[in-house]
């Protein structure tokens, strides 16, 4: 890749949300805006390396995208009023003094449309990364370990779905916004978790994706600064990411929290996480805020022994009440084991074993096997850990499980 090409991509990362947002506002047509913006990007990738970069790259991209949008509308020969709205300022020089509030509104609308409930989870993720994050289909495909064509098809289908459902290009009004915000946050969290733990394959951390998720959450907070759960989510991401430098060993195998070298934790990320957590508290913590508080309790502890496990148990209880989930209960059992020993924890886990929702994951047998091991019940522990290793889809986690089995006496 040439420097000129890299420069186009870098500018695109910085500007794409603004450009697509402004175009979607002009045309009222999200799909058309996205297509036109992509055409402008493709033209820049050909033209800039050849003819040099324009004096005002953003203006160039915006003007070119507008022209492509007009061409499309003209070709379609319909929607005259749309054409009138956008053609009228097509030759105006790009205005550097763009109205900040209008840009904020555009970006907020872009986020809500990309995360609209009419779309599948996969489509929301792909669309958000593409239009808000400015990632190419190739980059998204690489991050999610799927073919480029799959991502392209996903985005095309998503745009059709939005058009068919006549989703307006606007952020929902405040009352509806509160209802839909969790949907937006969950997309950002999905991007982060995909980046922090690959669900398959041999790469445990795809830090680029986790970094992008944090950036997008900061973008959201920039345009929606009064939402505690957005800060809770950012706090959770920062605090989770603070452990990345300590999470894998030299051979790439995962290191469990208790064995991590805490001097490697990213203190900058911890500070940012704790600062965000403070912003998340005014009306009581939501699900992300509570998870962040748990991560924060780990982050400030000097060692496993000095961790405030009682506090973690209480936080998991609170989390289980507002967002019931068997994984939360399983984590609470782990905290109970740390605070009160393996026996009371095993009782909790055995009660959970009846929950069918845990049938698909290796986590229950992993935890149960570990508790049995600590109780000295090796044969039972072996059985559980072997089951966990069979169910585990992450190669690196499986290595750790196999090692535990080998160490059983």
């Amino acid at each position: 890749m040439s420097d000129a090409t890299r420069a186009v991509e870098a500018i695109w990362r910085i500007e794409s949300a603004r450009i697509v947002g402004a175009l979607a506002r002009f045309t009222g047509d999200f799909a058309l805006a996205e297509d036109a913006a992509q055409e402008a990007l493709a033209e820049a990738l050909v033209s800039w390396p050849e003819h040099g970069r324009p004096a005002n790259p953003t203006g160039w991209l915006m003007t070119t995208a507008k022209r492509r949008a007009i061409d499309t509308i003209r070709r379609a020969g319909v929607q005259r009023e749309k054409y009138a709205a956008i053609a009228h300022d097509q030759d105006e020089a790009y205005d550097d003094d763009v109205d900040v509030e209008r840009i904020d509104d555009d970006i907020l609308a872009l986020m809500f449309v990309s995360c609209h409930p009419v779309l599948s989870k996969e489509a929301r993720v792909a669309l958000t990364l593409r239009v808000v994050g400015g990632l190419s289909s190739e980059e998204i495909a690489r991050a999610f370990l799927v073919p480029v064509a799959t991502i392209q098809a996903r985005i095309t289908r998503a745009k059709k779905t939005i058009a068919a459902a006549q989703v307006p290009f606007e952020a929902p009004p405040p009352d509806e916004r509160r209802e839909r915000l969790p949907g937006v946050l969950s997309v950002l969290y999905l991007i982060f978790t995909e980046g922090s733990t690959a669900t398959s394959g041999d790469e445990l951390i795809r830090t680029d994706l986790a970094r992008e998720a944090r950036r997008l959450t900061r973008v959201l907070i920039g345009v929606l600064p009064e939402e505690p759960e957005a800060y809770g989510l950012l706090a959770l991401m920062e605090l989770t990411a603070s452990r990345f430098p300590a999470r894998i060993d030299a051979s790439g195998d995962p290191i469990l929290l208790e064995d991590q070298d805490r001097t490697r934790w990213d203190r900058g990320a911890i500070k940012r996480g704790m600062a965000a957590l403070e912003q998340a508290t005014p009306r009581g913590l939501g699900p992300y805020g509570l998870q962040a508080a748990i991560a924060g309790t780990h982050a400030v502890a000097e060692s496993v022994e000095q961790t405030d496990w009682e506090r973690i148990i209480v936080l998991y209880e609170a989390l289980g009440r507002i967002a019931p989930n068997p994984i939360v209960d399983l984590n609470r059992a782990v905290a109970v084991a740390m605070a009160h020993g393996p026996l009371p924890a095993l009782e909790l886990v055995d009660r959970l074993a009846d929950d069918k929702r845990l049938d698909h994951t290796h986590l229950l047998p992993t935890v149960r096997g570990e508790l049995l091991r600590r109780l000295g019940r090796s044969a039972e522990a072996r059985k559980e850990l072997e089951r966990a290793a069979e169910m585990c889809t992450n190669d690196r986690e499986r290595v750790v499980l196999r090692q535990k089995i080998a160490e059983l006496t």
Binding site: A10, R13, V100, D208, R211, R218, G268
Partner: protein, 141 residues
């Protein structure tokens, strides 16, 4: 997760002073404020600080056995460090693009430097270990 530091420098003091003399202070704040806002809203800023101008600067430099202490900026080099941004971006090129936007006063320059992580230093070195311990207790950017 690449981190880059964008360092603001004055490379031609006369030119910069002349340029700044023509710009009303309010307008300067507006220009910088808008850019800072843009950076913040792009979600890439980890930290940023500006520094006092040269009249508050003291320099100690190595020239012989004892350090020499002088007032004012760097004598010969005339490269006053004016402030910095610490950014988390996807690539060096992206850091460069932001640097270009921050280069708006004639006579000034913005230097783009990658911030290495402590992992990149020899881990068995006792000084590195000491630094790690300090970072653990006190934090870092």
């Amino acid at each position: 997760m690449p981190k880059y530091m964008l360092i603001w420098r004055t490379i031609d003091e006369e030119k910069q002073n002349a340029a700044m003399a023509d710009i009303p202070f309010e307008q300067m704040l507006e220009t910088m404020g808008k850019l800072n806002d843009e950076l913040i809203k792009s979600g890439v800023v980890l930290a940023m600080e500006g520094l006092d101008p040269e009249e508050h600067t003291v320099v100690t430099y190595a020239d012989g056995e004892q350090p020499v202490v002088t007032d004012g900026p760097y004598g010969e080099t005339k490269e006053l460090f004016g402030g910095f941004y610490l950014l988390s971006v996807a690539s060096k090129q992206e850091a460069v693009e932001w640097a270009k936007r921050l280069t708006y006063f004639p006579g000034s320059a913005v230097e783009v430097r990658r911030v290495p992580t402590i992992d990149e230093f020899p881990q068995d070195n006792p000084w590195i270990q000491k630094e790690l311990e300090w970072r653990t207790k006190n934090g870092q950017l």
